[in-house]
């Protein structure tokens, strides 16, 4: 197990390295310059101002040097300074990370709270009305894009109910009520969307387990249904559910950018998009690194949990999509 773990972590780091290199190259190739962006129309007419900014950002050095320099700094934990705000990148990322993380965690919780019971109902009432009803409900919403629902909720909320989620971010410890007020709506929208996958997987896994021999044995032994479900079915069905939750969490990290944009929340997802638009390379590199690291970490944890829950799997397993 430990070897597996270490192997995966090393692999993750390798992936991050490669990703950062790819991002770096990508940023170089795309059109547009941060200098023109900062100086704006009237300022860029001064070649001295342009040259000065280029020097400040180290753009006059060879490409390889720029990348290695950044890499060395990143290894130390120093992700450089933003070209737009002149503040340290790591500081901005740390400021924005809690919002996105909280959004993702809350959405995952909602996905589980909504999805698992739905899937369980479907499984236990397999073939009957409740099963079909929950499946249809899950499917209908499955195709409605999140940006549509988010826009509608925001517009109708502000117009008809004179309510809008606060646009700033207040930490959970400072003011829990405002914090939750900010985050709960996008979290619900995101979580409910992922609940579909969770529901489907729960239902499928439970059906699968319910058909297994040991469950029939337990029933034959006279164990009460609740005991069966609680003790045997859930634990064994939880494995694939955990897997899908891991995948969905990754998707939620991505979907967060939509909700962050529409609800104007200062999160990590929007930071990446805004920074790309402004050609703020250090910020993009740093944010991409952090998001990818989070994503990889979530997948890793899912795999570990998987390995813990299912002893059959502990002996070497590759990641498959």
């Amino acid at each position: 197990m430990l070897r597996y773990l270490v192997g995966r972590v090393l692999g993750g780091i390798g992936t991050l390295l490669g990703l950062s290199a790819i991002v770096f190259i990508f940023l170089l190739l795309i059109p547009g310059s941060v200098v023109a962006n900062i100086l704006g129309p009237e300022g860029s007419s001064s070649p001295e101002a342009v040259a000065r900014l280029e020097k400040e950002f180290g753009l006059d050095r060879p490409v390889a040097v720029q990348y290695l320099d950044w890499l060395a700094g990143a290894a130390r934990g120093d992700l450089g300074d933003s070209w737009r705000t002149r503040l340290p990148v790591s500081q901005t990322i740390l400021e924005r990370l809690p919002l996105t993380a909280e959004l993702t965690v809350l959405a995952s919780l909602i996905a589980v709270v909504v999805g698992v019971p739905l899937g369980a109902i479907g499984a236990s009432r397999h073939g009957r009305l409740a099963d079909h009803a929950t499946r249809v409900a899950v499917l209908i919403g499955s195709a409605i894009p999140v940006f549509l629902t988010a826009s509608l909720v925001l517009i109708v909320g502000s117009t008809q109910f004179r309510w809008v989620p606060p646009t700033g971010f207040v930490s959970l410890w400072d003011d829990p009520i405002q914090n939750l007020e900010t985050v709960i709506t996008p979290a619900i929208l995101l979580g409910v969307i992922s609940a579909a996958s969770v529901a489907r997987m729960t239902r499928g896994a439970m059906l699968d387990v319910l058909g297994r021999d040991y469950v029939r044995t337990a029933k034959a032994k006279g164990l009460r249904p609740r005991r069966i479900i609680g003790r045997h079915v859930f634990r064994n069905a939880s494995i694939p559910v955990l897997t899908v939750l891991g995948v969905e969490t990754g998707r939620m990290l991505g979907g967060a950018v939509m909700t962050e944009t529409i609800f104007s929340l200062p999160g990590l997802g929007r930071l990446v998009v805004d920074s790309i638009g402004k050609r703020d390379f250090p910020m993009v590199q740093g944010a991409v690194l952090v998001i990818a690291a989070m994503f990889i970490a979530v997948n890793l944890m899912t795999d570990i949990l998987y390995g813990l829950a299912d002893p059959r799997v502990r002996v070497g397993r590759g990641r498959s999509n």
């Binding site: 692999g11 390798g14 992936t15 991050l16 490669g18 990703l19 790819i22 990508f26 940023l27 795309i30 059109p31 499917l139 209908i140 499955s142 195709a143 409605i144 894009p145 940006f147 549509l148 826009s151 509608l152 517009i155 117009t159 489907r200 997987m201 239902r203 499928g204 896994a205 699968d208 990754g250 998707r251 990290l253 991505g254 979907g255 950018v257 939509m258 944009t261 997802g269 990446v272 998009v273 790309i276 638009g277 993009v284 991409v288 998001i291 990818a292 994503f295 990889i296 990641r319 498959s320 999509n321």
Partner: protein, 292 residues
């Protein structure tokens, strides 16, 4: 009716495994409906120039913000353009972007997976590593980043979505290839001196078609949503061309003045994605009934 159907069944089961439309539909109601719906939408996209009542780009200063009427079934937008026509032509763009993106991804990813699975060793290691790197990033965010960086256009949106799904196809194809490689006929072919190219294209490829088809269907559904999302953010299809996502984006600001833009585009996107998703799901169930 019933005896005719059973006679037909017996007759054709004797004749071989041909698909009988009526029985098929009855057994797979949902799938059939989904296929029909999707087919209708594709047909509408193909026949757009002939079935659209107006030119989707035609401005009409006297007819702005109109509600549904006989001349404009779904009303008009801020420039007086007919929404219904725009949605039909928008189908071309949305389906086109998603379709070509998936085609590119399937081609590129398929080739990579084929080669990786066949040759193994460092080819496999490197390509799977690269695939991991792309997959190490949340999909929507990656698409947005690519589109924002390359510059907003339908072409770049296609590229972004293709990049997103190439590693997925690569992995799937590689996994299928690995499964196939263990089979005896491969050894037989190898012993008989068949060239690698022949083995890859003549023998392996046909057998990996099914997982690819399933993935292609699901990827197209996702691609349509991605294109919609990108265009919604202004990063995909650019004005004045219409795509479902850009109509949705334009309609957002105009929700109180032209709600039919949001409703129309929202419904088409949802229905199409749902239909495709159901088809892909059904295909997956057919291929492997034990999964979910």
């Amino acid at each position: 009716m019933a005896w005719r159907a059973s006679t037909m069944e017996r007759a054709s089961s004797a004749a071989g495994k041909r698909i009988k439309p009526l029985a098929f539909v009855r057994r797979h109601v949902v799938l059939s409906v989904a296929l029909v719906v999707f087919g209708v939408i594709v047909l509408a996209a193909v026949l757009a120039p002939w079935i659209a009542p107006h030119d989707p780009l035609e401005l009409n200063a006297d007819a702005t913000f109109q509600g549904p009427s006989s001349t404009h079934p779904l009303g008009t937008d801020r420039y007086g353009r007919d929404l219904f026509s725009r949605l039909i032509f928008g189908a071309r763009v949305s389906l086109g972007v998603a379709g070509s993106a998936v085609a590119i991804a399937a081609l590129a990813g398929g080739l990579i997976g084929l080669v990786a699975g066949f040759y193994g060793r460092w080819v496999e290691a490197v390509s799977m590593r690269l695939a991991d790197m792309v997959l190490a990033f949340p999909a929507l965010l990656l698409a947005i980043t690519l589109a924002a960086g390359l510059g907003p256009s339908a072409r770049n949106a296609t590229l972004a979505i293709a990049v997103l799904y190439t590693p997925v196809f690569a992995r799937i194809v590689r996994a299928s290839v690995l499964v196939e490689m263990r089979k005896d006929y491969i050894d037989a072919l190898r012993v008989s001196g068949a060239s690698p190219l022949r083995m890859m294209f003549r023998h392996l490829m046909p057998n990996i078609g099914t997982p690819m088809l399933i993935q292609a269907t699901l990827a197209t559904a996702a691609g349509i949503e991605l294109e919609a999302g990108l265009s919604f953010l202004g990063l995909g299809t650019q004005p004045p061309a219409a795509s479902w996502g850009s109509i949705l984006g334009e309609g957002r600001v105009l929700l109180t003045r032209a709600p039919w833009m949001t409703i129309g585009a929202g419904v088409v996107i949802s229905v199409t994605v749902l239909a495709l998703f159901l088809v892909g799901d059904a295909l997956r169930d057919a291929a492997d009934p034990t999964s979910s």
